[in-house]
Symmetry: C3
Subunit: 166 residues, 3 copies
C-alpha cells in the first residue's frame, strides 16, 4: 500500500485527526519562529498566497505575498532573517473551524479560519490579521503537505507589517 493509498483509506475521523495535527504543527513552526522549517510543509511546486478578500472575490491577481515554489519560500525566509528594518515583534497564529472538504483525485481540500495577534516590544498584544485559509493538500514524501495555501484576509487594508508568513 502506497502512502497516498493509506491516506485515502483513512476514515473521516482519522483524516480529521491527521489534518488537525498538521495544522497544529504548522502554527507552532511559525509561532516559534522556526522559519527555516516552514518550506518543508509544502510540496514543490506550490502556491502560497496572502490576499485581501476583496481582491480574491473579484478575481484580481494582486496578492500581498505570492510564492510559487519551495525555493521562493526559502528566499522569503532569508530576506526576513537578513532584514532588520522593522520593530521586533511576535506574531501568534490561532486556527479555528478546520473543515476537511474531501479528496478530489489525490488532492485534499481543507478550509479554516485564522486569527493572528501581534505583540510589539514594550506594547500589549493586539489583533493583527484575521481571515480564511483555503488549502489544497497532497501526500508528498509520505506525509501531507500543502500544494496550495491561500490566506484570504478580511481587511481591505494591507497591514504594513506583514513581515512574517501566516
Amino acid at each position: 500500500m502506497t502512502a497516498i493509498e493509506r491516506y485515502l483509506a483513512l476514515s473521516a475521523s482519522e483524516l480529521r485527526f491527521a489534518v488537525e495535527e498538521l495544522y497544529a504543527d504548522y502554527e507552532a513552526c511559525l509561532n516559534e519562529e522556526r522559519f527555516e522549517d516552514w518550506a518543508e510543509f509544502f510540496a514543490d511546486p506550490c502556491l502560497y498566497k496572502i490576499v485581501p478578500r476583496e481582491n480574491f472575490e473579484r478575481g484580481l491577481p494582486l496578492a500581498t505575498w505570492l510564492c510559487e515554489s519551495k525555493g521562493y519560500l526559502a528566499d522569503r525566509v532569508s530576506a526576513i532573517r537578513k532584514t532588520a528594518v522593522y520593530a521586533p515583534r511576535t506574531v501568534r497564529r490561532m486556527v479555528s473551524g478546520i473543515r476537511v472538504l474531501g479528496w478530489t483525485a489525490a488532492v485534499l481540500e481543507v478550509r479554516a479560519s485564522y486569527l493572528a495577534v501581534e505583540t510589539l516590544q514594550d506594547e500589549l498584544t493586539r489583533v493583527f490579521n484575521a481571515g480564511e485559509c483555503r488549502d489544497k493538500l497532497v501526500v508528498d514524501g509520505g506525509k501531507l503537505r500543502f500544494r496550495e495555501k491561500v490566506c484570504i484576509f478580511d481587511s481591505i487594508l494591507v497591514p504594513n507589517s506583514l513581515i512574517y508568513p501566516l
Copy 2:
C-alpha cells in the same frame, strides 16, 4: 437502527468528532455570509438567543436577539439582506473549548467559547464580541441540529452593530 440510535451508539470520541464538524460547518456558514443556509442548522421549533452575561445570570428575560422558530431565523436573514443602513463589515467567528456534556434523553448538551472579530471597510480587524455558547442538539432529519443555541456574551454593553448572527 434509526438515526437517533446511531448517534446514541457513538463512542465519546466519535461523537466529539461529529460535534466538531457541526461547529466548523456552522462557523463557516456564517463567516462566508451564507446566511440563507443558516436556519438549516436548527430544528423547528428552536430557541436562538444572544444575551449579555449579566442578564443571563440574573435570569432576566431581556435578550439582544431572540428567535423561536426557523421561520423567525429566516425573517432575520431577509431583514439583514434588505437593510443597508450600516457600514459594510466582515465578522469572523472562532470557537474554542468545545465540551460535549452528554445526552439527556435525546438531547445532547454542548458548550463552547467563541470569539468574534470584526473588520469594517478601510479599517483593521478588531475584537467584536466574546462569550460562551450553551447549546442543545437533537437528531433531526438524520443529522445533528440545534434545538437551542444560546450565546452569552461577556460584555454588559450591547454592541450597536450586532447585525449578523453569531
Copy 3:
C-alpha cells in the same frame, strides 16, 4: 491494567481526544470562574508558572506567577476571592494548536497557543494576553493532570491586571 498503562496504550488519536477534553474542561473551569475547582487539574507537587517570553528564553527565574503545590494554588484562589481592589472583569481563554508531543517515561508533554480576552464592566472586550503553554501531564488518581503548566506570554509587559489564572 493500571490507569497509567491504559493511557500509555491509547492510540495517537485517542490520546489527542483525551488531551483536547482536558484542555476544554480546564478552560471552562476558569472561564466560568469555578476557581475552587482549579487546583484539581494539577498533581501534587506541581509547577504553575506565568512568565514573559523574554525571561523564559533567557532562563531568568523571575515569573509573574509561581505556584509549586496544590496548596499554593488554593491559596491564590482564596486571595482572589478575598480581594476586591480591582475592577470587575471577565477573562475568557481560548486555545489553539494543541500538540501532543509524546510520553517520556510516564510524563506526557503537550504544547498549545492561548489567547485571553478581557471584558471590564461597561467596556467592550479586548485582547488581554497571548502566548504558549508548555505543559507536562501525568496520570494521577486515574486521570490526566498537570505536573507542570508553564504559560509563556508574548508581551514583555506584565499586564497589571493578571489577577486570574490562565
